[in-house]
Symmetry: D2
């Protein structure tokens, strides 16, 4: 852990969605909802579902044991299921995780967290949009030189510059709403993804599970990863738009340009006169980092057969980092807007 | 030019949209439509618009001169506009490209070509879907071993495998329709993208231009590249889905697995018994190639100020190649479906 | 922090080189060595250097203040230098960091850590090579089917397979030795990288600093990032070689192939009979992850003028993660070798 | 084919190394040398080798048939070998390609072309270095403002700027020489890469083949792709260094900065006063394009078993484009140096 780097590029609110604690809590929530749904569907007894619900509520995860299980099994669910089975009365052990497979729990648990991520991102996009509106309100009528191909072109209004920064964000908000509606869905397929383990009641269980978790219903998508990748691509689009904003601010605040000035620029260890556009540069770095990660995530589309340990693990390495990077970029961008002055 | 590589990874129908001939034709079409729209809006005379229309119809591009202009100016439009101005009566020369800038013509010209690309891709997606339906109809009830994490898991139906390959394609068709509706729009902004060069009639000209070209209306997006990048991300999603299909076919047709057999596999120069899953491997290669390009295209979001020569050029290097790669992958996938047998 | 993900893809020994604690310790070590070198060169007094040395030894970093400084200044050095100046007698405050700039300290501090990384990686490469030799010794004469283009080809010896896995590692060891000799060098340039702030004694100070730190001498390379990128490319080459090894093991241990069997495969939450090649899949994921990061790091070559906050920050986001990923892959690969049996 | 795009980003001299004509010529050259080497080693008769040599000399490739063979077999060699066997007297047909496999011919043929590429790149690096020396000689003593983190820092000499651009190129020349010595080697392994098809004379044939082709000897590396990837990484390092140069020039020649002025900037279709740093922007685009391709090429390390059609094809899609991009960037950079003036 590098607390310095985290202070620069981390995002505590979003990181909290991707800790082991949050992950295990989400997995347990899925297990409890699954048990309840299965009891309603008549697959397990109501007593079993109640026992599982209680066990989940009281569950004290043994992080070391779960980590060891993850390393051994390549996914944390088997160890977690074992522990949960040990925490219910023996007669209900078989009802835990009934008919399900690790990926059902892990993918659905991810969706729960993405479901929490979306409103955070939407709120930040709104906050940034509001800040940009204020900025346009304050300085929009100021004339600034436009630059094309790195050369002064013709004067335009500062409002035009703000429009360029703001419009993609509005589209990205709409796209995020669209993903929320289309893509935040449960995964339920059983061992090989065909729901055959649910004794003919798989679709019923799926509907009930989705309703309980506030997620959409979907056919099993265990090895169809387009939803994950589309989500990541949108994250990169957001951070890319903010990278463009940062690049513009860095260019406009150059010593020789001063089309904008920044309150609170960064200091230098050797040049007292410097006021560096630190947040603007950070936005560029975060945008380029996420762009690269988006390309890597696209590689995870190529998942082998019914479950790819390799491609799935690649998602785990990439997607949370993209979410954190995007969230951080939104926070930095909003702060940067507040630093901008447009000299007459 | 490597005709061998083109035979493997090229796509003549889609490449035809991205030749210099197609590009210049699209640019000229935009110039003619712009002149007509501007005449309607009262910005130029009807006589000028008619003269420009005739000049465009008769235009014989001097490819060498245009290429030289592109190299000098970084964009082909200035040389093309000069040539077009030379081809109309002198009194109408000023009316050519009136109020517009290179990027208006080039980006709108790209949109025209993407507008031709979309139905090609949709038709291929439909053809592939139909082929997969036939495949499912023929072999869907066959039992095949499912594999999770590279190990035999439990039997499932072959219909399940086809479902896994087909469902993402249906979503991608819908997404492509969505992009067509939202993203295939004109770009019209003038020198610095604020339409100030159209003497108050920019929005009117924009509406008329869009209607004439069969594209949507949009505010100037000259330095908002999210539409381009979203388009590219979807292309990579398609080729990634096909890469997953190719990977599955290669795995299922292994000598030791033979869950499927392929008619017409590739031969070896040294081992006469070999029948290689050449199309399946090609799909994997095309999927991974496009995945990488998608990440590179995301970098083009970071466009400087009102026009970035660097980021824009990067788009030119990447997006057409992604379209070709995706189109080729669709054609290869459909051919591969036709090679699949599922032994009892 | 996700302790589960860290257990899977982290590497405590290598992460320890990239914590804030390690980073600050390295920066302080550079400051002390710089002061000593400058005293020898007559730029500051011996008393100042001694005072700085003592302050460094006794320094208690205020992590929160340093993190705040990093966020404000975009680099931690200014805050650290302020703190260090506050920790020496006032008459020596000016001697702290004399003539240097943040980048001198941060880049040289990184080199110290890479200098510790290299022997760790070399040792792991040696251990892996030794394990592969044992493997070849035990099973090398066994005949196994070779596979080309995903099809059984002709029998070969298992020794051939081990040779394919081992030979790139030998080249990578040599390359790592080469980088150690050529690329682990100090950075010393002063504010704009021309050593003009060292009053004519910059080259002398550089030689002494390098000697004290056990690094090579080099002309200022503040905005020449090829050394960093070459280092990262080699890391990706190592993890890519291991990804190939993992892919082969996953393919060879398929249920239908069983050319090798694995002791200690991963379990499933739904299929008791499964023994998944978890380590092999992890190697594939780590290899693909690092491949993507290598491409992102290449983007950091494009550093603006004398110092790019954006490109430099991008390095910070990418390079440590690549080191951790490579180290983890080496450890996993060696463990995987120990799991391999080759049935007769 | 887009002749406009080729004019911008293509490189005829380097593209000539990667045409189908050049590829087939190289493959034939390998077949002839192999036959000669095998005759010397006693594997085929001298008469056969002579007949093969004559057939190669007279060979008229049927491009369409070869392309069709490539598409069918996934590699061109089988069709080429068939054609060549048809072109020798029947009694020598079996001697053609004796003991070899497609990959031996294709990989060695690639090495021949990389062997031609290296001196081209070296010559261009030298030319660029010479141009930079002239530039430093002319303007090196001029004082220019250095910029750190996008802000004016302190004055430095223009010679310092040139040093920053030139030094990585010198290291890259040395690295290219190193690759030439270490990495330009034959591939000879036979069907599964263990030389068992050469009846105990594989190593002897390999030595003779290498000597005849002017390449180094190496153990079979058919599925060890680190040499290819290392080559590509170096190409990206070169174009990345040039991208940094282009970025600096674009920044320094901004209207408000004018630390340098450019002769022959690009014109605008709407703003007659513009003089755009077109070559500088192109260098940035080429650098970022190659950076992305370098990451994609790293994915090709993960080659399945003894031959991966997928990873190998991915190399074909990426590496030639990287060579062309690098060569073009070198030519553009040298031309750009000639455009630079440094105002007093």
């Amino acid at each position: 852990m590098n607390r310095l780097l985290d202070a620069l590029a981390g995002d505590p609110e979003i990181e909290a969605l991707f800790t082991d604690t949050a992950e295990i809590a989400a997995l347990l929530r899925v297990e409890a909802a699954l048990a309840a749904a299965e009891a309603e569907a008549g697959l397990i007894s109501a007593a079993a579902a109640a026992a599982i619900g209680r066990a989940v509520t009281d569950f004290q995860p043994d992080a070391a044991a779960l980590a060891a299980g993850l390393v051994k099994d390549g996914v944390v669910a088997p160890a977690l299921v074992r522990a949960l089975r040990g925490a219910v009365p023996p007669e209900h052990a078989e009802a835990v995780h009934f008919g399900a497979t690790s990926q059902d729990i892990v993918d659905t648990g991810l969706m729960l967290r993405l479901g929490e991520l979306v409103p955070i991102l939407l709120a930040r996009l709104e906050a940034l949009d509001a800040a940009l509106s204020v900025l346009a309100g304050r300085w929009g009528t100021r004339s600034v030189m436009a630059h094309t191909r790195m050369q002064a072109a013709l004067p335009t209004s500062f409002a035009e510059k703000v429009r360029t920064w703001a419009e993609p964000l509005a589209r990205e908000r709409a796209a995020l709403e669209g993903l929320r509606a289309r893509r935040l869905v449960i995964q339920l397929g059983g061992p090989v993804g065909d729901r055959s383990s649910f004794m003919g009641k798989g679709d019923d269980v799926a509907r009930r599970l989705a309703a309980r978790l506030g997620l959409g219903v979907a056919a099993p998508w265990h090895s169809q990863r387009d939803g994950i990748v589309e989500f990541g691509s949108l994250l990169a689009l957001v951070s890319g738009s903010l990278g463009k904003f940062g690049m513009d601010v860095a260019l406009l605040s150059q010593s020789e340009v001063r089309a904008i000035t920044l309150k609170g620029g960064g200091g230098s260890s050797s040049m007292a006169h410097k006021s560096n556009p630190v947040k603007a540069e950070l936005l560029v770095a975060l945008g380029r980092f996420n762009a690269g990660l988006a390309g890597t995530l696209q590689q995870a589309m190529l998942a082998e057969n019914e479950r790819s340990g390799a491609a799935w693990t690649l998602e785990w390495l990439v997607l949370p980092r993209m979410a954190i990077t995007t969230g951080r970029a939104l926070a930095v961008a909003t702060a940067l807007v507040g630093e901008i002055d447009v000299p007459a």
